[in-house]
Amino acid sequence: MEFKPRIIAFLCNWCSYTGADLAGTSRMEYKSNVRTVRVMCSGRIEPTFVLEAFIKGADGVLVCGCHPGDCHYQEGNYRCLRRFLLLQKYIVQMGIETERLKLEWISASEGKQFAELVNSFTETITELGPCKIKDAMKIST
């Protein structure tokens, strides 16, 4: 059976979600594997959101916020960047490839960039194959 990756994208309301929306309203074609979750700011994306996504069966997690300097709340995206870098260090220790967690800055006008990002990320995850962490959480004797 063909592998259809499950991807969760956390998008900040002010830039990235608007960018994604633009991609939609401009009828740009992009892969339909992504479920988006809108948050007010990328700084709101807590590490638990990402970890929960993986253990509930996501094959990839995409995090998007405003470009550095553009965060609606000034510092949120820097906080997000630091969490992201630490999360990557942690998930690789748990056997999840770092490529499965991606952070990109998408502005409100970057609909095209968003569509391309989704396509390339979907491709990366398709190549990596399913993430097995969900199954590994079942207790084995």
């Binding site: 960047l81 630091r82 870098l85 220790q93 590994a136």
Partner: protein
């Protein structure tokens, strides 16, 4: 009023544990006399010669309170967890291993195969040319011999049986145990947060007396031995990683009083659903860098994030084992 009130029946059992929890019970010292005045210890392998068979023969729910310490890592641990559940009115997960998996839970970073290979083949002190490994069942001349089956996963007690209460700590503070015991004997309502007793709801940082400012700014993290701790300032503010922000208070910040950062043995505080996730947030908010390369350089100082964040809690955390 001798004899007016039936004595409580108490049991203490160790599963996959180091023995420290049982010692923390023994640490009631002379208060042990008060304990045995109010309770009969009906089963306690470290101190009493009572066999498993004797427990099997007890009627169900015969034991009032069992303090079960240790994780569940093999079939014997599981068997005893189920047996004691059946025989006890109140089953308490006592100590970090039983509560969250504890130090034995770190085995969830490996598999059974890896552990056996390391222990029976590769370790520096092992000479085993015939590659002999323990078998759960062995047919000897005299008959079939059995030893417990070693599991791939280490579990906390509540992942195997229903647990009434949890007393956290590696080991729990003996004073906390005595408070709980006195409450049980007097029939008082147990103050619990969730089902956690003998601890607080709030985080360690809220109790800790080290000086803290709201403005933590860190450009480098240090291992505790790399700095001259001033003995006064919050460890995190000095760049030493401390599990205080995610950890439940209740131990009386005993490590910090001994000038060592908290390692998190009391488990996640109320409202913290994963210790590592909480620590990652806390750490991300104090690093004073904005460029990816600079942030990564600071993060290099955190050599083993998973081991640090989940030292006592891996089997009971969001990602409960390494994917191998």
């Amino acid at each position: 009023m001798e004899g007016s009130k039936p004595k409580l029946k108490l049991a203490v059992y160790w599963a996959s544990a180091c023995g420290g929890c049982c010692v923390s019970v023994l640490d009631v010292h002379e208060k042990l006399f008060d304990v045995i005045a109010a309770a009969d210890l009906v089963f306690w392998p470290i101190a009493l010669d009572i066999k498993y068979e004797d427990v099997v023969k007890m009627p169900d729910s015969q034991i009032d309170v069992t303090l079960f310490n240790g994780a569940v890592r093999n079939s014997e641990n599981e068997h005893m967890a189920k047996l004691l559940r059946k025989k006890s009115r109140i089953l308490v997960a006592y100590g970090s291993c039983s509560h969250l998996g504890g130090i034995p839970g770190l085995a969830n970073f490996s598999t059974k195969e890896e552990i056996f290979r390391r222990v029976y083949q590769e370790s520096e002190s092992t000479i085993n040319p015939e590659n002999i490994k323990p078998l759960p069942e062995y047919e000897a001349k005299e008959g079939i011999l059995n030893i417990p089956v070693f599991y791939n996963d280490v579990c906390s007690l509540s992942q195997v049986v229903d647990v009434d209460y949890f007393i956290p700590g590696c080991p729990p503070q003996t004073e906390r145990l005595l408070e709980v015991f006195v409450a049980i004997v007097s029939g008082a309502e147990l103050t619990s947060e969730g089902s956690v007793i003998g601890a607080e709801a709030k985080a360690q940082c809220e109790e800790c007396i080290r000086k803290k400012t709201e403005n933590k700014r860190i450009k480098k993290f240090y291992r505790p031995w790399e700095i001259n701790d001033d003995g006064v300032t919050c460890f995190m503010e000095q760049g030493v990683l401390c599990m205080g922000p995610s950890t439940r208070a209740g131990c009386g910040y005993r490590c910090i009083k001994g000038n060592a950062p908290c390692r998190g043995c009391y488990g996640p505080a109320s409202g913290v659903n994963d210790p590592g996730a909480k620590m990652m947030s806390a750490i991300a908010s104090i690093i004073d860098e904005k460029e990816p390369e600079d942030i990564s350089r600071v993060l290099e100082d955190i050599v083993d994030p998973a081991g640090l964040f989940y030292r006592f809690s891996l089997p009971a955390s969001l990602i409960r084992r390494k994917l191998l």
